[in-house]
Symmetry: C2
Subunit: 285 residues, 2 copies
């Protein structure tokens, strides 16, 4: 346990972090669901991606990223990265208590369990998230009879970062990953987008999985969960406060702005991004 320096103040910002720009899909949903809140978003771009790294490294990076946000006085923390939510949520909650720490994985698993009728749920995520089996565990905790199939889709991350969200390459990659999951009867009736990069590929994914499957994007359910946590802790911003977003990254403001715009859904420029240092990153624009 470290000294608690985070603010217990309704006007304090909400800290959100991710390995890079993918978590901006979550930030976007949070700002839409909680328009009166101030957000500070940190992308650990000097060390992205987390999804191919070991659990030990991911926990270390997540603790450092969350520590920087804690030092900025955030009233609560959102882990906008499935990989870090899967392997680091427990250590973050322990280290930063009593500051509430919310991941995207549990809200995503809960939404999948609400969406499914057949109990057959497919999960697509990074290598690390799939290997750890955290989605399967979180789903089965709620729905013990669920039949969960998982597929690591690392090329979806590269596609999303390149901005190739539709067209022949996106379609070919989506078929290669998803035909196996959805080509056999009985098909899953729900598909969890278990990586924050994937929502921008939802149309290409929809083309492969067909109209009947429910596509679960944990960003929106995370916004609902966050509202509940803030209300429960008496930390919800007053209605009159002007919402705001501040963007931090550990490397490459120009690239963060260019690629991040795809995920946030609005254009960014390098001047919107403040470069910060974490141990071992030596941040620089």
């Amino acid at each position: 346990m470290s000294t608690v320096s985070a603010a217990r103040d309704v006007a304090a910002p909400i800290g959100v972090f991710d390995s890079g720009v993918g978590g901006l899909t979550v930030l976007r949903a949070l700002t839409q669901g909680l328009p009166d809140e101030r957000f500070v978003y940190l992308g650990d771009t000097a060390r992205l991606p987390y999804g191919t790294k070991s659990p030990h490294s991911i926990r270390r990076y997540a603790l450092q990223a969350a520590g920087l946000l804690r030092d900025r006085g955030v009233k609560c923390l959102v882990v906008a990265c499935n990989t870090a939510s899967a392997v680091a949520l427990d250590v973050l909650q322990e280290e930063f208590a009593p500051v509430p720490v919310l991941g995207v994985l549990e809200p995503g698993a809960a939404a999948a369990c609400r969406a499914t009728r057949s109990g057959r749920i497919a999960v697509i995520a990074t290598e690390s998230t799939v290997r750890g089996g955290a989605y399967e565990a979180a789903i089965r905790r709620r729905l013990p009879g669920a039949i969960v199939t998982s597929q690591a889709c690392p090329m979806f991350v590269a596609l999303a970062e390149e901005g190739w969200t539709d067209g022949p390459v996106a379609e070919a990659v989506a078929h290669r990953y998803l035909d196996e999951l959805f080509g056999r009867e009985p098909q899953p009736d729900s598909l969890v987008l278990g990586c924050t990069h994937f929502p921008v590929l939802a149309p290409a994914i929809r083309n492969v999985v067909g109209p009947q499957a429910t596509i679960v994007d944990s960003a929106e359910t995370t916004a609902t969960a966050l509202a509940g946590i803030l209300d429960g802790a008496g930390l919800r911003a007053a209605g009159g406060q002007a919402g705001s977003v501040r963007l931090l990254a550990t490397d490459g403001a120009e690239r963060f702005a260019r690629v991040g715009g795809i995920f946030l859904g609005r254009p960014l420029v390098a001047a919107d991004v403040e470069i910060v240092d974490l141990p071992g990153t030596g941040g620089n624009s």
Copy 2:
């Protein structure tokens, strides 16, 4: 300048480093060209990829990786990463003198200048290498009238790491990147593979660029350049020494072995890979 602890001994190993596993295509060529040498290869997998990071971060990471190899007593250093060769070679040569430091970029540029007849040379590489313009500069230094066109191909890195080196996805990606470069007359007559990941995609690339263009892979010319440097410095291993390869990584022995086998051209297991710490990586298997 730091204290020189590297061995000036013909029997000492040659240090080779890369951001991850891509440099194993270079290691493979080096072991084939210099079968009597001992090699120590370091992949900085905890912080891969370098190709999307800032020059400042890349220089910092490269100095740390090279420092670890220096401390292992290497007689010379090969930067088996185009991105690091492009932005960090000068600081590495300054920091580690008199240990010879060889990058892959200059040998690749030299080979392209030898291969071209028309002077029209295309370069494909990572974002960082293309933005820095180091290949253009190195080619024009040798061939002032050369017309160099460059294209960042980050999806090729993801394809190679996924092992999707042929088939419809590789073809669609190759067309998307290369049709623009090779679809107009007059076409380039040489294509430099300016990223160590790309040689495993050479057949798919060949399908798009056609049979007439020369594909330049800097791995082989780097082996020739290294032999010259060792001979010039009196550091070439004696003919009777048994060559060997030792593999180090900063994260994820299992993934290094699984993906690295694609690049090295022979199967690896996790036990072949020693996990080491660099500042800020906190290496773990």
